[in-house]
Symmetry: C2
Subunit: 218 residues, 2 copies
DNA sequence: AATATTTTGGACACAATTGTCCAATCCGTC
DNA sequence: GACGGATTGGACAATTGTGTCCAAAATATT
C-alpha cells in the first residue's frame, strides 16, 4: 500500500487515449470485484479483463485500495443519477393514480433497482462495507440516506393532495421500496435472472398492494 | 485442493474431544467467511479464532472447499430448523388476527430473519453463490424453496377461513416477507444494528400494512 | 498405569499476489 | 517525421496462503 494518492497525473477527462483505458479498467474492476470480492480480486485478473497491462492500472489508479475506492465512487454516482432521473417523473398529481404509479414503479425498477449499478453496489456494500468504513458512510449518506427521504416526500405530497392516507411517510417509503423489491428478491434468492418482460408485472403487483393499504378509505 | 473427502475418520458426534473442537472450528469459520468472504478467509485466521492449530482443521475437515461446504450445511440446517419451529405457531384460526399475526411476525423476525444464521446465509449466498453452484442449489431448495410455499399455504388457509382476501397466495407470501424485512433492510443498509427492542415495532408496522391490503373489505 | 488417538507447532514446498523498476514500444501531437 | 507522454511485458523481492509431513505433547480409553 505504498501508492495511495487519489490524484491523477493529468486531466484524464480530456486526454483521449487514457480516458478509454481508464474506463475499461474501471468496468473490468467492477466486474471482478463483484465476482470475487475485494480479497479475491487480483490486479492481474482485472488487467486481463480490461485488456490492459497491469502496470497501466498502477500508473493510472494507484494501488488496489485506491482502485476500489474510485470504482465505488464511480458506480455510486451512476446509480444515484439514474435514481433521481426517474424520481423526477413521480406522479405528484395523478389523474389515474394506479396506472401512473405503476408506470413510475416500473421505471424505478428498471433504471434504479435492478440495473447493474444498483445491484453491484448493494452486493459490494454488504460484502466489503466493514473493510472501508469511511467509504460506505458517504455511500449511505448519498444512497439510502437521500433516496428514502426523497420517496417519502413524494408520498407525503400525494397524501397531502388526498390521493393517499399515510400516517408516517418515511415508513410508507420503506414499505413501498420493500414491496417493489419483493418479487425481485425472491427471484434473486432462487438464482433466477428476472426477465425484462416481468418487470411491468412486478411493478403492478407492488403498486396494487401498496394502494390497497394506503388508498383513502371511502 | 489435494484433500477433498467429506468423510470423517471417526464418529465425531460421540467422540467428545473432537466434537467440541470441531464445533469451535465451524463457528470460527462461519465468522471469518462472513467477514472476509471465501477468498479472503485464511485457514490461519480461522484456526487462530477457534483457538486450534491449523493442522487440526485439516485433520477434521479436509481442505478449504470442504470446510466451507460443511459450514454452509450446518448453518443451513440451523436456520431452517428455526424457521419451521416458528412457523408451527402461525395463527391459522385467530380470534384477533392483528395481534396474533403481529406476535407471529415478531417471532419470525427474531428467530428466523435477523438471527445470526439467517443473516450469515443470505450474505454468503450472495457473495459465493457463483463459486459453489451445487451447494447453493440445495440451499435454494431447502431455504426459500420451502419457506415461501409454507408461508403461502398458511396465508391461503387464513383466506379460506374468511380472515383475509387473497388472490394469489404466493404473491402475498412474497409481499408479506418483504414488508417484514422492510425496516430491517433499511437499518442494515444504513449500517445500523437493529436493537432487539424495535423488533416488535417492526412486526407491527409490517402486519398493519399487510392487513390493510389484504383484510376483507367490509 | 498402559495404550490409542488426537492435537500441536514448526518446517517445508509450492503457488499466487502485490507493488516496483525499467527498457522497449506504441501512438497521438506538432 | 520527430517528439513526448503513455503503454507494455518481463523481471523482481516481499509477502501471504495452501496443504503436507512429522515428532513431541496432551488427552481419552481400557
Amino acid at each position: 500500500m505504498k501508492n495511495s494518492s487519489a490524484e491523477l497525473p493529468r486531466d484524464y477527462d480530456t486526454w483521449p487515449p487514457a480516458r478509454n483505458k481508464r474506463q475499461a479498467i474501471l468496468n473490468a474492476a467492477a466486474d471482478v470485484f463483484a465476482q470475487e470480492g475485494f480479497g479475491g480480486a487480483s490486479i492481474d485478473a482485472i488487467a486481463a479483463r480490461a485488456g490492459v497491462s497491469r502496470q497501466t492500472i498502477y500508473n493510472q489508479l494507484g494501488d488496489k485500495d485506491n482502485l476500489f475506492k474510485v470504482v465505488v465512487a464511480e458506480i455510486t454516482d451512476r446509480s444515484s443519477a439514474g435514481f433521481f432521473r426517474v424520481l423526477d417523473t413521480f406522479p405528484v398529481a395523478p389523474q389515474d393514480i394506479e396506472t401512473e404509479l405503476t408506470h413510475f414503479s416500473a421505471q424505478l425498477l428498471r433504471k434504479a433497482i435492478c440495473d447493474p449499478n444498483g445491484r453491484w453496489l448493494r452486493k459490494v456494500v454488504e460484502t466489503e462495507g466493514a473493510r472501508f468504513p469511511e467509504l460506505f458512510e458517504t455511500w449511505k449518506e448519498y444512497g439510502p440516506g437521500k433516496k428514502y427521504p426523497a420517496i417519502a416526500a413524494r408520498l407525503a405530497q400525494l397524501a397531502h393532495g388526498g390521493y393517499l392516507e399515510i400516517d408516517d411517510p418515511t415508513l410508507a417509503a420503506r414499505q413501498y421500496m420493500a414491496l417493489l423489491a419483493a418479487d425481485l428478491r425472491y427471484d434473486q434468492q432462487m438464482g433466477r435472472q428476472t426477465p425484462e418482460s416481468e418487470i411491468d408485472q412486478m411493478a403492478a403487483n407492488a403498486t396494487r398492494t401498496f394502494l390497497r393499504a394506503f388508498a383513502p378509505r371511502r
